[in-house]
Symmetry: C2
DNA sequence: AAAACTTTTTTAATTATTTAATAAGTTTTT
DNA sequence: AAAAACTTATTAAATAATTAAAAAAGTTTT
């Protein structure tokens, strides 16, 4: 059927997005289709100018495979990464390149009824000023903190519409392009799974070290979201008997003992108390800059900064010990803003595991630092759109235009 | 192909085991095959006397579907449920009935090199004395505590063979029937998923309240085992700062604050200290009988017994709060030996969730008590064999014998 | 340098699935 | 009460997919 064929073609495009370049044999296996069927679909995609032949790959002991990749300048993605304070918007191509400068706007989410409209306007503006025709956009992917229901397109924490209406629908109607949303930490995990340190991993925990401690769970090779899409509330597991009130209203959450927010606060306090450090109270005023400054100090060997990260790392490790016991992952990936501090995390986390984990369990678990760093969420937002690519109804063929032939 | 056909037939037999009775239309959907193909396979299975027509089901608004079920007395399962002290062996048919009395032997696992041989002899003996011919047994399913690698057939905690050789292979060679092993709590969860309170659930946590606090995770409708098969080590998550040494060598594990073992110990202490209760130190001597006695006392309203369960329940609740935050399940099932105490668990666990869980999360999670009770592990062990049924190579046709026609 | 082996691609033969048409039994609607 | 709508079952023809075999292009071994 023509409907089934389209699905097959979309799957090929999706696979090529995630893998960059594949042979017909590879694709046949991934699609779980026979070789002849796959070859035919590819042939059609090539004639539609959506896919190109990229030449022969080195032989693996036999005939060299002819490789295929996505055509350039034919499809684009809009990716949006929001945190509690700042929102970043970018346009990405099918090779994971940023094709326009990353737009950054200050947009505080809590108690801000204007967020949705500002966001819509900004996305529209970015698309407009890119000069790329709208029908070349596959979709908009948005990552945001809070309790996000992916299927319904609702964020129960921020950006709420009256009657819990779908914000993906709302934005989509304004922009004219399909919209997908997910929790920020889930998208960080998705980015790591598809393009980062967890690539092709079957069981991995991606810890998003940011203003809170987020978690994206990769189970059986897929992002796990739970029954309502709220899985991964790592920040608020009750782990400490410290009597500290958390932003969520409970007491003793993991977040009360570790997070970048806490580190910045403690740094500010320390300086006030006259701790010896290369950091100044001046450079810690703005939250984002403060965070960058502390991480820089860590890398320059500042003892106070290292102490702050070590303590935070140990407490993350206590949380990770719980994860390892419950889910027996192959690897733990440290990602998000805080991961740029790099190897500093390893020792204190490992220490916590030594103390709180059954040896057999932690010995077979590795801890790795993200290579995607601060852009993980943006990459994940783009990946989110392509994860859903089969389900996007509109698929246009792109005939070879004159300019294209000339270029 | 004949190989593919066999696979399809085995899948039908498997589906009928788990669902008891299905129409051709149901099976076509489950197998993801077309109606004609499914109908043909069923026809063959009927003529091989493996499947029987059970008449017409009530109409759901159209022609009444002809239902199919597994033939009786054609296939049997051996299921074995081990705990640290006692091992139970049963023979089950395809309708989940125990066709022989459940054999119970005292068999302490720790530091006992004889376990494997005793187990093999006992299984052989049970099969022998059943009078059922060996070729009617599909397989042996065994649940056991410890770190079990399902695929490799190894238990790293007990029953170890030299060089970490597969115990499933070892037992299988002696018995002459395929053998499968899994962790006890995983099998309890499997039983609940297939025949119990978690039936057809997509996301559920099955808490196995026994001598420890086990956990079986049902994620995306399947039993989740983790990278090495060790997922669900609920008993040993570091949750308390109580300084109590756990059997695992660590400090502050969940198990140090809740388990049936702890309840029995505390009951014994309480009586020694002269607590007012209907229990006597006499009836608490034997561990299993003690446990039964305390649960009976709870149901009879004994205040001391209820107090013990309430405290244990609250601490289980603290652990469950962690599960809910991390995995956002739809339901929590209390199963295993302790679940026979029934509704007594509800209040203290709910209390702990109120205190330690974000409202949005626990409000959409239900807590249910198992209906399978003490036999959950045995049922799960049988289900384990059938979960793997497609992969079992030997499949015999069972021609209608004379006696069968006469009966 | 030839033979044996791998891997990919192509083609033809086989097999499976979908579709459509028919029929039978039920429920809902008119 | 009869007609319409719906679900299940059966069959045959049309369509599509898989499998098997063979060819092509390389690599490795003898």
């Amino acid at each position: 059927m023509t409907e089934k064929k389209k699905l097959g073609k979309n799957k090929i495009l999706k696979e090529l997005y995630f893998e960059e370049s594949l042979s017909c044999a590879d694709l046949a296996i991934k699609l779980e289709k026979s070789f002849p069927v796959t070859a035919k679909l590819i042939e059609e995609l090539v004639s539609e100018n959506l896919v190109i032949e990229t030449g022969y790959a080195p032989s693996t002991g036999g005939r060299r495979p002819l490789m295929y990749a996505l055509q350039k300048n034919v499809m684009y993605l809009v990716s949006v990464a929001m945190d509690q304070f700042v929102t970043k918007i970018a346009i990405m191509d099918m090779q994971n390149n940023f094709v326009s400068p990353i737009e950054k706007i200050v947009l505080p989410l809590p108690n801000n009824p204007l967020v949705l409209n500002v966001l819509k306007d900004k996305i529209a503006q970015v698309i407009d000023s890119s000069g790329i025709s709208k029908d070349k956009f596959v979709g908009v992917g948005i990552g945001m903190p809070g309790f996000v229901n992916v299927k319904k397109g609702i964020n129960y924490s921020f950006l709420q519409l009256p009657n819990n209406k779908s914000i993906t629908k709302n934005i989509g109607e304004k922009i004219g392009i399909p919209v997908f949303i997910d929790n920020d930490s889930s998208l960080v995990a998705l980015a790591e799974l598809r393009f980062g340190a967890a690539r092709s991993e079957m069981n991995a925990m991606v810890v998003n070290i940011g203003w809170g401690i987020g978690l994206g769970l990769i189970l059986n090779g897929e992002l796990f979201r739970g029954h309502d899409g709220f899985a991964g509330e790592f920040s608020h597991i009750p782990l400490f008997l410290n009597g500290k009130l958390c932003s969520c209203g409970k007491v003793g959450c993991l977040e009360t003992e570790t997070s970048l927010l806490l580190i910045v606060e403690k740094a500010r306090e320390g300086i006030k108390e006259g701790r010896l450090t290369r950091m100044s109270s001046q450079c810690l005023k703005d939250l984002e800059l403060a965070c960058d400054a502390i991480i820089k100090s860590v890398q320059e060997g500042d003892q106070f900064a290292i102490e702050l990260f070590s303590k935070a790392g140990y407490n993350i490790g206590k949380g990770v010990a719980v994860l390892i016991h419950l889910l027996n992952p192959k690897t733990i990936i440290l990602s998000g803003r805080g991961s740029s501090a790099g190897q500093i995390w390893q020792a204190p986390i490992q220490q916590a595991l030594n103390e709180h984990c059954i040896p057999r369990l932690y010995q077979s678990t590795t801890i790795e630092i993200s290579t995607l760093g601060i852009n993980a969420e943006l990459i994940g937002a783009a990946a989110l759109v392509m994860e859903n690519y089969e389900r996007i109804p509109v698929i246009k063929s792109h005939p070879v235009s004159l300019e294209m032939n000339l270029s």
